[in-house]
């Protein structure tokens, strides 16, 4: 499974949104993700990939596509 699909699965499960509305352009506001959703998404991703995702970095990210690219970047740095 690609990193994007894995992250998609995590976001859909936590935010409980429809798969169809989650596109690279989706913002957290579009998905109605609150601060608890964000914390739980980050915990799940950190657990899955054994990386650290600082909150400050995530605050700068505008949409889901950028978020996936950011995580892929972190994974590339790790390997």
């Amino acid at each position: 499974m690609s990193v994007e699909d894995t992250i998609k699965g995590i976001v859909i499960k936590i935010v409980r949104c429809d798969k169809k509305i989650l596109t690279p352009d989706s913002t957290w506001q579009d998905l109605k993700a609150d601060s608890l959703d964000m914390v739980q998404i980050l915990i799940a991703i950190e657990e899955k990939y054994d990386i650290e995702v600082p909150d400050e970095d995530v605050q700068e990210i505008k949409n889901f596509g950028e978020f996936v690219a950011y995580i892929e970047g972190r994974l590339a740095k790790k390997s």
Partner: protein
């Protein structure tokens, strides 16, 4: 060195109050297990600083919302040390919501981390304390009693933590285990230091205490270390307030004390 040779677990000690407690216990001679969830770098830094004090440190990642992760953490402690003398239940989280806006997820999140994890950690810690007894200290908040804006989830969970502290104190007294809590007012953390710097270096009046300054993580750590020592043996099930007198003078006061 009041805690020489003791093994202590401090949950949520990668930064802030937990880090200060971990360092204080190390300064008093205890080997410290640093639990963290998200801030590995911070946990590693805390562990390095503990080792500089001449004692041992170990970091363990565990999400205390998940009982199986708590089990795994205590299995690691059991296999590495074979015992535990001190549990400091510090890890905490919550959601900022009014009571009418609080949903079940927010409620459960705060209750699971702030109250249930304390119960589960204490149950497992007691087994590792065995016949020797031990100390359990939890970190609470003035929001357990006072009503703070959008603080209901954390406030209620901290009230549960304090009640659990009293029940455990009596149930565990025959085992030689002392259980207490520490409740602090707003603590001068890195985030608040940054805010103060941005405001031109002035501590905002709502953060000031009658004692003339804000409460620091070290103020909380000093009281925790005392409660973990034999000097506090006859204190049981109490929540010690560390707030520079704020809760006694809830109305705005001036530098002249008026």
């Amino acid at each position: 060195m009041r805690l020489k040779g003791k093994i202590a677990l401090v949950t949520g000690s990668s930064r802030g109050i937990g880090r200060a407690i971990a360092l204080k216990l190390a300064e008093e001679g205890a080997d410290v297990i640093v639990n963290f969830l998200r801030h590995r770098q911070g946990a590693e830094e805390t562990a390095r600083d503990i080792e500089k004090l001449g004692v041992n440190a170990q970091i363990i990642k565990a999400n205390l919302v998940e009982p199986e992760k708590i089990d795994a953490m205590f299995e690691t402690i059991a296999s590495n040390y074979g015992r535990l003398d001190i549990l400091v239940n510090n890890a905490a989280s919550g959601v900022a919501r009014s009571a009418l806006d609080l949903d079940t997820r927010g409620w459960e999140w705060a209750m699971d981390i702030n109250a249930r994890a304390f119960l589960l950690c204490a149950q497992r810690a007691v087994k590792l304390m065995g016949e020797r007894g031990g100390k359990i200290v939890s970190i609470s908040s003035l929001g357990s009693f006072f009503v703070l804006p959008d603080y209901v989830a954390v406030g209620v969970s901290k009230a549960a933590l304090e009640a659990l502290t009293r029940y455990l104190a009596i149930e565990l007294a025959p085992k030689g285990i002392c259980v207490n809590a520490v409740a602090a007012s707003a603590v001068l953390t890195e985030a608040i230091k940054f805010f103060i710097k941005e405001q031109g270096g002035q501590t905002p009046s709502w953060q000031m205490t009658p004692a003339g300054r804000m409460v620091t993580p070290e103020d909380v750590a000093n009281v925790v270390a005392f409660l973990c020592s034999e000097e506090a043996y006859m204190i049981r099930g109490r929540t010690i307030i560390v707030d520079g007198g704020t809760s006694l003078a809830p109305f705005k006061f001036t530098d002249e004390g008026g």
